[in-house]
Amino acid sequence: MAYSQKVKNSYLETLQTIKDNGLFKSERLICDVQGADIEVEFPVGSAHKQLINMCSNNYLGLSSHPEIVKAAHEALDYRGYGLSSVRFICGTQDIHKELEKRLSAFLGVDDTILFSSCFDANGAVFETLLDENDIMISDRLVHASIIDGMRLAKAEHDTYKHSDMAHLRKKLEQYQDRPRKIIITDGVFSMDGDIAKLDEIVALAEEFDAMVFVDDSHASGFIGKTGRGVHELCGVMDKIDIITTTFGKALGGASGGCVSGRQELIDLLRQRGRPYLFSNTLAPTITMATMKVLDILEASTERRDKLERNMKWWRTALTEAGFIIVKGDSPIVPVMFYDAKLAQAFSKDLYDEGVYAVGFFFPVVAQGQARIRTQLSAAHEMSHLEKALEVFVKIGKKYDILGKSKEELLQIKL
Protein backbone atom coordinates (compact mmCIF):
# COMPACT_ATOMS: atom_id res chain seq x y z
CA MET A 1 0.00 0.00 0.00
CA ALA A 2 1.41 3.31 -1.00
CA TYR A 3 -0.32 5.11 1.86
CA SER A 4 1.42 3.25 4.68
CA GLN A 5 0.66 3.50 8.39
CA LYS A 6 3.93 5.41 8.77
CA VAL A 7 2.83 8.06 6.27
CA LYS A 8 -0.64 8.22 7.80
CA ASN A 9 0.83 8.66 11.29
CA SER A 10 2.96 11.57 10.11
CA TYR A 11 -0.20 13.45 9.14
CA LEU A 12 -2.02 12.44 12.32
CA GLU A 13 0.90 13.79 14.35
CA THR A 14 0.77 17.12 12.52
CA LEU A 15 -2.95 17.38 13.13
CA GLN A 16 -2.44 16.54 16.79
CA THR A 17 0.20 19.27 17.08
CA ILE A 18 -2.26 21.78 15.64
CA LYS A 19 -4.84 20.65 18.21
CA ASP A 20 -2.33 20.71 21.08
CA ASN A 21 -1.41 24.28 20.17
CA GLY A 22 -5.07 25.29 20.28
CA LEU A 23 -5.03 26.22 16.59
CA PHE A 24 -7.38 23.60 15.16
CA LYS A 25 -10.11 25.29 13.15
CA SER A 26 -13.64 23.87 13.01
CA GLU A 27 -16.24 24.93 10.49
CA ARG A 28 -19.59 26.28 11.61
CA LEU A 29 -22.46 25.28 9.36
CA ILE A 30 -24.51 28.24 8.20
CA CYS A 31 -27.93 26.70 7.47
CA ASP A 32 -29.17 29.86 5.87
CA VAL A 33 -28.29 32.51 3.29
CA GLN A 34 -25.54 34.98 4.22
CA GLY A 35 -26.88 38.00 6.09
CA ALA A 36 -27.08 39.93 9.33
CA ASP A 37 -29.13 37.12 10.91
CA ILE A 38 -27.90 33.60 10.35
CA GLU A 39 -28.90 30.16 11.54
CA VAL A 40 -25.85 28.17 12.60
CA GLU A 41 -25.26 24.52 13.44
CA PHE A 42 -22.22 24.06 15.66
CA PRO A 43 -20.90 21.63 16.58
CA VAL A 44 -22.22 19.56 13.70
CA GLY A 45 -25.33 17.68 14.81
CA SER A 46 -26.31 20.20 17.50
CA ALA A 47 -29.50 22.27 17.49
CA HIS A 48 -29.52 25.24 15.14
CA LYS A 49 -28.89 28.62 16.71
CA GLN A 50 -30.02 32.05 15.54
CA LEU A 51 -27.14 34.55 15.58
CA ILE A 52 -26.35 38.12 14.68
CA ASN A 53 -23.48 37.87 12.23
CA MET A 54 -20.66 40.27 13.12
CA CYS A 55 -17.85 38.55 11.26
CA SER A 56 -18.61 38.39 7.55
CA ASN A 57 -17.07 40.37 4.70
CA ASN A 58 -20.59 41.07 3.43
CA TYR A 59 -19.89 44.79 3.89
CA LEU A 60 -22.60 46.08 1.58
CA GLY A 61 -25.16 43.40 2.39
CA LEU A 62 -25.27 42.28 -1.24
CA SER A 63 -24.40 38.60 -0.78
CA SER A 64 -28.05 37.56 -0.74
CA HIS A 65 -29.58 40.70 -2.17
CA PRO A 66 -32.62 39.81 -4.32
CA GLU A 67 -31.38 41.80 -7.32
CA ILE A 68 -28.01 40.03 -7.23
CA VAL A 69 -29.61 36.61 -6.87
CA LYS A 70 -31.95 37.47 -9.77
CA ALA A 71 -29.03 38.56 -11.96
CA ALA A 72 -27.26 35.26 -11.25
CA HIS A 73 -30.43 33.32 -12.15
CA GLU A 74 -30.73 35.24 -15.39
CA ALA A 75 -27.09 34.57 -16.21
CA LEU A 76 -27.78 30.83 -16.15
CA ASP A 77 -30.40 31.23 -18.88
CA TYR A 78 -28.43 33.84 -20.82
CA ARG A 79 -24.88 32.42 -20.85
CA GLY A 80 -25.14 29.02 -19.16
CA TYR A 81 -23.54 27.46 -16.09
CA GLY A 82 -19.92 27.05 -17.11
CA LEU A 83 -17.44 27.37 -19.96
CA SER A 84 -15.33 24.24 -19.45
CA SER A 85 -12.31 26.22 -20.55
CA VAL A 86 -9.66 28.70 -19.59
CA ARG A 87 -10.14 32.21 -20.94
CA PHE A 88 -7.84 32.08 -23.95
CA ILE A 89 -9.05 28.80 -25.47
CA CYS A 90 -12.83 29.05 -25.49
CA GLY A 91 -13.68 30.57 -22.14
CA THR A 92 -14.15 34.25 -22.92
CA GLN A 93 -17.72 35.39 -23.38
CA ASP A 94 -18.96 38.85 -24.23
CA ILE A 95 -19.98 39.28 -20.60
CA HIS A 96 -16.41 38.75 -19.37
CA LYS A 97 -15.14 41.59 -21.54
CA GLU A 98 -18.09 43.72 -20.47
CA LEU A 99 -17.33 43.16 -16.78
CA GLU A 100 -13.66 43.98 -17.32
CA LYS A 101 -14.67 47.25 -18.97
CA ARG A 102 -17.14 48.06 -16.21
CA LEU A 103 -14.58 47.39 -13.48
CA SER A 104 -11.97 49.54 -15.23
CA ALA A 105 -14.41 52.44 -15.35
CA PHE A 106 -15.46 51.90 -11.72
CA LEU A 107 -11.89 51.80 -10.43
CA GLY A 108 -10.63 54.51 -12.79
CA VAL A 109 -7.93 52.45 -14.51
CA ASP A 110 -6.89 51.56 -18.08
CA ASP A 111 -7.89 47.92 -18.12
CA THR A 112 -8.84 44.91 -16.01
CA ILE A 113 -8.26 41.18 -16.15
CA LEU A 114 -10.53 38.73 -14.31
CA PHE A 115 -9.33 35.84 -12.15
CA SER A 116 -11.06 33.00 -10.34
CA SER A 117 -10.16 34.67 -7.05
CA CYS A 118 -8.13 37.58 -5.74
CA PHE A 119 -5.78 34.95 -4.32
CA ASP A 120 -5.10 33.94 -7.93
CA ALA A 121 -4.82 37.58 -9.00
CA ASN A 122 -2.16 38.18 -6.35
CA GLY A 123 -0.49 34.95 -7.40
CA ALA A 124 -0.16 36.19 -10.97
CA VAL A 125 1.05 39.76 -10.62
CA PHE A 126 4.58 39.64 -9.25
CA GLU A 127 5.85 36.57 -11.06
CA THR A 128 4.61 37.95 -14.37
CA LEU A 129 5.61 41.57 -14.10
CA LEU A 130 8.98 41.43 -12.35
CA ASP A 131 12.30 39.71 -12.92
CA GLU A 132 15.35 38.94 -10.80
CA ASN A 133 16.74 42.47 -11.09
CA ASP A 134 13.66 44.08 -9.59
CA ILE A 135 12.64 44.69 -5.99
CA MET A 136 9.32 44.23 -4.21
CA ILE A 137 8.93 46.25 -1.02
CA SER A 138 5.87 45.26 0.95
CA ASP A 139 4.16 46.40 4.12
CA ARG A 140 4.71 43.78 6.83
CA LEU A 141 1.00 43.18 7.32
CA VAL A 142 -0.07 42.44 3.75
CA HIS A 143 -2.44 39.57 3.11
CA ALA A 144 -1.17 35.98 2.89
CA SER A 145 -2.05 35.77 -0.81
CA ILE A 146 0.35 38.63 -1.56
CA ILE A 147 3.08 36.91 0.40
CA ASP A 148 2.50 33.72 -1.58
CA GLY A 149 2.45 35.74 -4.81
CA MET A 150 5.77 37.38 -3.95
CA ARG A 151 7.26 33.98 -3.15
CA LEU A 152 6.53 32.89 -6.71
CA ALA A 153 8.43 35.82 -8.20
CA LYS A 154 12.11 35.87 -9.08
CA ALA A 155 12.42 39.47 -7.96
CA GLU A 156 13.97 40.19 -4.59
CA HIS A 157 11.68 41.24 -1.80
CA ASP A 158 11.96 43.26 1.36
CA THR A 159 9.48 44.63 3.84
CA TYR A 160 8.81 47.86 5.69
CA LYS A 161 7.31 48.32 9.14
CA HIS A 162 3.55 48.50 9.02
CA SER A 163 2.48 51.87 7.55
CA ASP A 164 5.83 53.38 8.55
CA MET A 165 6.62 55.85 5.79
CA ALA A 166 10.07 56.72 7.16
CA HIS A 167 10.99 53.05 7.02
CA LEU A 168 9.57 52.72 3.51
CA ARG A 169 11.68 55.70 2.43
CA LYS A 170 14.75 54.03 3.90
CA LYS A 171 14.04 50.89 1.88
CA LEU A 172 13.46 52.86 -1.31
CA GLU A 173 16.79 54.60 -0.79
CA GLN A 174 18.44 51.24 -0.21
CA TYR A 175 17.14 49.82 -3.49
CA GLN A 176 17.05 52.92 -5.64
CA ASP A 177 19.42 51.45 -8.24
CA ARG A 178 16.99 48.67 -9.12
CA PRO A 179 15.44 48.97 -12.61
CA ARG A 180 11.91 48.36 -11.37
CA LYS A 181 10.69 48.89 -7.85
CA ILE A 182 7.21 48.20 -6.56
CA ILE A 183 5.62 49.22 -3.27
CA ILE A 184 3.07 46.67 -2.15
CA THR A 185 0.30 47.29 0.35
CA ASP A 186 -3.21 46.33 1.33
CA GLY A 187 -5.73 49.17 1.03
CA VAL A 188 -7.48 48.23 4.27
CA PHE A 189 -5.54 45.84 6.48
CA SER A 190 -7.71 42.92 7.39
CA MET A 191 -6.58 42.30 10.96
CA ASP A 192 -6.39 45.87 12.29
CA GLY A 193 -8.89 47.49 9.95
CA ASP A 194 -6.57 50.45 9.42
CA ILE A 195 -6.15 52.13 6.05
CA ALA A 196 -2.94 52.46 4.04
CA LYS A 197 -1.51 55.99 3.69
CA LEU A 198 -1.80 55.77 -0.06
CA ASP A 199 -1.25 59.48 -0.67
CA GLU A 200 2.08 59.33 1.13
CA ILE A 201 2.98 56.05 -0.56
CA VAL A 202 2.25 57.56 -3.98
CA ALA A 203 4.40 60.61 -3.15
CA LEU A 204 7.30 58.34 -2.22
CA ALA A 205 6.73 56.22 -5.33
CA GLU A 206 6.95 59.32 -7.50
CA GLU A 207 10.09 60.47 -5.76
CA PHE A 208 11.83 57.12 -6.20
CA ASP A 209 10.29 56.03 -9.51
CA ALA A 210 8.52 53.04 -7.99
CA MET A 211 5.25 51.42 -8.98
CA VAL A 212 2.41 51.09 -6.48
CA PHE A 213 0.39 47.92 -5.91
CA VAL A 214 -2.74 47.94 -3.72
CA ASP A 215 -4.92 45.00 -2.74
CA ASP A 216 -8.26 46.70 -2.12
CA SER A 217 -10.26 43.59 -1.27
CA HIS A 218 -11.45 45.05 2.04
CA ALA A 219 -12.25 48.43 0.43
CA SER A 220 -13.72 48.07 -3.06
CA GLY A 221 -17.34 49.12 -3.09
CA PHE A 222 -17.42 51.16 0.10
CA ILE A 223 -14.22 53.04 0.99
CA GLY A 224 -14.07 56.53 -0.52
CA LYS A 225 -16.91 58.93 -1.17
CA THR A 226 -18.38 56.80 -3.95
CA GLY A 227 -16.93 53.47 -2.85
CA ARG A 228 -14.15 53.19 -5.41
CA GLY A 229 -11.62 52.27 -2.79
CA VAL A 230 -8.70 53.61 -0.79
CA HIS A 231 -7.27 55.38 -3.84
CA GLU A 232 -10.44 57.47 -3.95
CA LEU A 233 -10.32 58.15 -0.21
CA CYS A 234 -6.69 59.31 -0.43
CA GLY A 235 -7.18 61.40 -3.57
CA VAL A 236 -4.86 59.34 -5.76
CA MET A 237 -7.40 57.76 -8.14
CA ASP A 238 -5.15 57.99 -11.20
CA LYS A 239 -1.86 57.27 -9.47
CA ILE A 240 -2.10 53.57 -8.66
CA ASP A 241 -0.40 51.22 -11.12
CA ILE A 242 -1.97 47.96 -9.99
CA ILE A 243 -5.12 47.34 -7.98
CA THR A 244 -6.24 43.85 -7.11
CA THR A 245 -9.60 43.17 -5.57
CA THR A 246 -12.14 40.45 -4.90
CA PHE A 247 -15.78 39.92 -5.77
CA GLY A 248 -15.95 37.66 -2.73
CA LYS A 249 -16.49 40.37 -0.15
CA ALA A 250 -18.50 43.57 -0.66
CA LEU A 251 -18.99 43.07 -4.39
CA GLY A 252 -21.51 40.23 -4.11
CA GLY A 253 -19.55 37.81 -1.97
CA ALA A 254 -19.41 34.75 -4.24
CA SER A 255 -15.86 34.48 -5.53
CA GLY A 256 -13.63 35.81 -8.27
CA GLY A 257 -11.26 38.73 -8.42
CA CYS A 258 -9.29 40.90 -10.76
CA VAL A 259 -6.17 42.88 -11.48
CA SER A 260 -6.85 46.42 -12.69
CA GLY A 261 -4.30 48.96 -13.78
CA ARG A 262 -1.93 50.18 -16.47
CA GLN A 263 -2.63 48.89 -19.96
CA GLU A 264 0.76 47.25 -20.58
CA LEU A 265 0.68 45.45 -17.25
CA ILE A 266 -2.77 43.99 -17.91
CA ASP A 267 -1.76 43.06 -21.47
CA LEU A 268 1.25 41.17 -20.13
CA LEU A 269 -0.82 39.41 -17.48
CA ARG A 270 -3.12 38.17 -20.26
CA GLN A 271 -0.11 36.65 -21.99
CA ARG A 272 1.80 35.26 -19.04
CA GLY A 273 -0.30 35.26 -15.86
CA ARG A 274 -0.25 31.58 -14.91
CA PRO A 275 -3.45 31.49 -12.81
CA TYR A 276 -5.16 33.21 -15.76
CA LEU A 277 -3.72 30.86 -18.38
CA PHE A 278 -4.21 27.62 -16.48
CA SER A 279 -7.36 28.10 -14.43
CA ASN A 280 -10.97 28.19 -15.50
CA THR A 281 -12.80 31.29 -16.55
CA LEU A 282 -15.10 33.12 -14.14
CA ALA A 283 -18.58 31.52 -14.07
CA PRO A 284 -21.28 33.45 -15.97
CA THR A 285 -23.41 33.71 -12.81
CA ILE A 286 -20.66 35.56 -10.94
CA THR A 287 -19.77 37.65 -13.98
CA MET A 288 -23.28 38.96 -14.47
CA ALA A 289 -24.09 39.28 -10.78
CA THR A 290 -20.95 41.39 -10.32
CA MET A 291 -22.14 43.70 -13.09
CA LYS A 292 -25.43 44.04 -11.23
CA VAL A 293 -23.46 44.97 -8.11
CA LEU A 294 -21.77 47.74 -10.09
CA ASP A 295 -25.18 48.91 -11.35
CA ILE A 296 -26.35 49.24 -7.76
CA LEU A 297 -23.20 51.01 -6.57
CA GLU A 298 -23.10 53.42 -9.50
CA ALA A 299 -26.76 54.33 -9.08
CA SER A 300 -26.50 55.27 -5.43
CA THR A 301 -24.10 55.51 -2.51
CA GLU A 302 -26.90 54.58 -0.14
CA ARG A 303 -25.42 51.23 0.89
CA ARG A 304 -21.89 52.46 1.56
CA ASP A 305 -23.33 55.47 3.39
CA LYS A 306 -25.37 53.18 5.63
CA LEU A 307 -22.29 51.04 6.25
CA GLU A 308 -20.38 54.17 7.25
CA ARG A 309 -23.14 55.20 9.66
CA ASN A 310 -23.18 51.70 11.18
CA MET A 311 -19.41 51.73 11.46
CA LYS A 312 -19.32 55.09 13.24
CA TRP A 313 -22.11 54.12 15.62
CA TRP A 314 -20.48 50.80 16.49
CA ARG A 315 -17.02 52.29 17.02
CA THR A 316 -18.42 55.03 19.28
CA ALA A 317 -20.70 52.66 21.18
CA LEU A 318 -17.96 50.14 21.94
CA THR A 319 -15.56 52.88 23.02
CA GLU A 320 -18.13 54.55 25.26
CA ALA A 321 -18.97 51.16 26.77
CA GLY A 322 -15.34 50.85 27.86
CA PHE A 323 -13.87 48.46 25.30
CA ILE A 324 -10.50 49.07 23.68
CA ILE A 325 -10.83 49.05 19.90
CA VAL A 326 -8.24 49.59 17.20
CA LYS A 327 -9.00 53.10 15.96
CA GLY A 328 -9.72 53.57 12.29
CA ASP A 329 -12.24 54.43 9.62
CA SER A 330 -13.07 51.04 8.21
CA PRO A 331 -15.89 48.60 9.03
CA ILE A 332 -13.32 46.17 10.44
CA VAL A 333 -13.41 46.92 14.16
CA PRO A 334 -11.08 44.81 16.28
CA VAL A 335 -11.95 44.68 19.97
CA MET A 336 -8.73 44.17 21.90
CA PHE A 337 -8.32 41.64 24.71
CA TYR A 338 -4.53 41.09 24.31
CA ASP A 339 -4.75 37.77 26.18
CA ALA A 340 -5.69 34.82 23.94
CA LYS A 341 -7.62 32.92 26.61
CA LEU A 342 -9.73 35.94 27.44
CA ALA A 343 -10.50 36.55 23.75
CA GLN A 344 -11.45 32.90 23.28
CA ALA A 345 -13.69 32.83 26.35
CA PHE A 346 -15.34 36.11 25.35
CA SER A 347 -15.98 34.87 21.81
CA LYS A 348 -17.58 31.67 23.12
CA ASP A 349 -19.84 33.65 25.45
CA LEU A 350 -20.84 35.93 22.58
CA TYR A 351 -21.84 32.87 20.60
CA ASP A 352 -23.88 31.49 23.48
CA GLU A 353 -25.65 34.84 23.78
CA GLY A 354 -26.46 35.02 20.05
CA VAL A 355 -23.63 37.11 18.57
CA TYR A 356 -21.18 35.59 16.14
CA ALA A 357 -17.72 37.21 16.19
CA VAL A 358 -14.47 35.30 16.07
CA GLY A 359 -11.38 35.65 18.22
CA PHE A 360 -7.93 35.98 16.61
CA PHE A 361 -4.69 35.29 18.39
CA PHE A 362 -1.06 34.35 17.74
CA PRO A 363 0.12 33.33 15.15
CA VAL A 364 -2.67 34.97 13.10
CA VAL A 365 -1.90 38.23 14.91
CA ALA A 366 1.22 39.15 16.88
CA GLN A 367 1.84 37.67 20.31
CA GLY A 368 -0.12 39.54 23.00
CA GLN A 369 -2.47 41.14 20.48
CA ALA A 370 -5.46 38.79 20.81
CA ARG A 371 -8.69 40.37 19.72
CA ILE A 372 -12.21 39.74 18.52
CA ARG A 373 -12.65 41.11 15.04
CA THR A 374 -16.07 42.59 14.44
CA GLN A 375 -17.16 43.58 10.96
CA LEU A 376 -20.00 45.87 10.05
CA SER A 377 -22.40 45.47 7.18
CA ALA A 378 -25.00 47.59 5.45
CA ALA A 379 -27.27 44.61 6.15
CA HIS A 380 -27.12 45.45 9.87
CA GLU A 381 -30.06 47.44 11.17
CA MET A 382 -29.79 49.46 14.37
CA SER A 383 -31.68 46.67 16.15
CA HIS A 384 -28.85 44.24 15.31
CA LEU A 385 -26.17 46.60 16.54
CA GLU A 386 -28.02 47.55 19.72
CA LYS A 387 -28.57 43.89 20.56
CA ALA A 388 -24.93 43.04 19.79
CA LEU A 389 -23.76 45.92 21.98
CA GLU A 390 -26.01 44.77 24.82
CA VAL A 391 -24.42 41.32 24.63
CA PHE A 392 -20.87 42.72 24.45
CA VAL A 393 -21.54 44.86 27.54
CA LYS A 394 -23.15 41.97 29.45
CA ILE A 395 -20.12 39.74 28.87
CA GLY A 396 -17.75 42.66 29.44
CA LYS A 397 -19.27 43.06 32.92
CA LYS A 398 -18.98 39.33 33.55
CA TYR A 399 -15.21 39.48 33.03
CA ASP A 400 -14.95 42.94 34.58
CA ILE A 401 -13.03 44.38 31.65
CA LEU A 402 -15.01 47.52 30.82
CA GLY A 403 -12.96 50.69 31.13
CA LYS A 404 -9.81 48.70 31.81
CA SER A 405 -6.45 49.53 30.28
CA LYS A 406 -4.31 47.12 28.30
CA GLU A 407 -2.13 46.50 31.35
CA GLU A 408 -5.19 45.79 33.49
CA LEU A 409 -6.59 43.38 30.89
CA LEU A 410 -3.32 41.49 30.89
CA GLN A 411 -3.64 40.99 34.66
CA ILE A 412 -6.88 39.02 34.25
CA LYS A 413 -6.20 35.34 34.71
CA LEU A 414 -8.81 32.88 33.51
Binding site: I147, D158, Q367
Partner: protein
Protein backbone atom coordinates in the same frame (compact mmCIF):
# COMPACT_ATOMS: atom_id res chain seq x y z
CA UNK B 1 28.55 40.46 16.06
CA UNK B 2 25.84 39.66 18.57
CA UNK B 3 25.42 43.29 19.58
CA UNK B 4 25.31 44.47 15.97
CA UNK B 5 22.62 41.92 15.18
CA UNK B 6 20.60 42.88 18.26
CA UNK B 7 20.84 46.59 17.38
CA UNK B 8 19.74 45.92 13.83
CA UNK B 9 16.80 43.78 14.97
CA UNK B 10 15.64 46.46 17.41
CA UNK B 11 15.76 49.11 14.71
CA UNK B 12 14.39 47.04 11.84
CA UNK B 13 11.68 44.96 13.45
CA UNK B 14 10.55 46.25 16.82
CA UNK B 15 7.94 48.97 17.08
CA UNK B 16 9.07 49.68 20.62
CA UNK B 17 12.89 50.01 20.57
CA UNK B 18 12.95 49.62 24.35
CA UNK B 19 11.68 46.04 24.14
CA UNK B 20 14.25 43.89 25.88
CA UNK B 21 15.81 41.23 23.72
CA UNK B 22 18.95 39.16 24.12
CA UNK B 23 20.80 36.45 22.22
CA UNK B 24 18.32 33.79 23.34
CA UNK B 25 15.08 35.70 22.75
CA UNK B 26 12.87 33.70 20.43
CA UNK B 27 12.32 36.22 17.69
CA UNK B 28 10.26 34.31 15.15
CA UNK B 29 8.40 31.74 17.25
CA UNK B 30 7.90 34.56 19.77
CA UNK B 31 6.14 36.67 17.16
CA UNK B 32 8.63 39.57 17.00
CA UNK B 33 9.80 38.86 13.44
CA UNK B 34 7.70 37.20 10.78
CA UNK B 35 9.62 34.68 8.74
CA UNK B 36 8.91 36.53 5.50
CA UNK B 37 10.88 39.52 6.73
CA UNK B 38 14.06 37.48 7.26
CA UNK B 39 15.34 38.80 3.96
CA UNK B 40 16.19 42.07 5.73
CA UNK B 41 18.45 40.11 8.05
CA UNK B 42 20.05 38.29 5.14
CA UNK B 43 20.84 41.59 3.44
CA UNK B 44 22.19 43.09 6.67
CA UNK B 45 24.45 40.10 7.33
CA UNK B 46 25.83 40.26 3.79
CA UNK B 47 26.51 43.99 4.05
CA UNK B 48 27.78 44.13 7.63
CA UNK B 49 29.76 40.88 7.89
CA UNK B 50 30.42 40.11 4.24
CA UNK B 51 28.73 36.71 4.60
CA UNK B 52 26.22 35.61 2.00
CA UNK B 53 24.01 33.05 3.71
CA UNK B 54 22.04 30.93 1.21
CA UNK B 55 18.28 31.41 1.56
CA UNK B 56 17.60 27.72 2.39
CA UNK B 57 19.75 28.10 5.52
CA UNK B 58 17.64 31.00 6.74
CA UNK B 59 14.48 29.47 8.11
CA UNK B 60 12.09 30.21 10.94
CA UNK B 61 13.67 27.38 12.91
CA UNK B 62 17.33 28.10 12.16
CA UNK B 63 17.15 31.87 12.66
CA UNK B 64 14.92 31.99 15.71
CA UNK B 65 17.53 33.48 18.06
CA UNK B 66 20.59 35.67 17.63
CA UNK B 67 22.70 32.86 19.09
CA UNK B 68 21.52 30.56 16.28
CA UNK B 69 22.17 33.26 13.69
CA UNK B 70 25.75 33.73 14.88
CA UNK B 71 26.39 29.98 14.70
CA UNK B 72 25.21 29.87 11.09
CA UNK B 73 27.06 33.04 10.10
CA UNK B 74 30.27 31.58 11.50
CA UNK B 75 29.93 28.56 9.22
CA UNK B 76 30.43 30.78 6.18
Amino acid sequence: MEEKLLDFIRDEFLDDPDTEIDVDTKLISGGMIDSFSLVSLQTFIAKEFGKKIPAPRITAASFDTVRQMVEIINQF
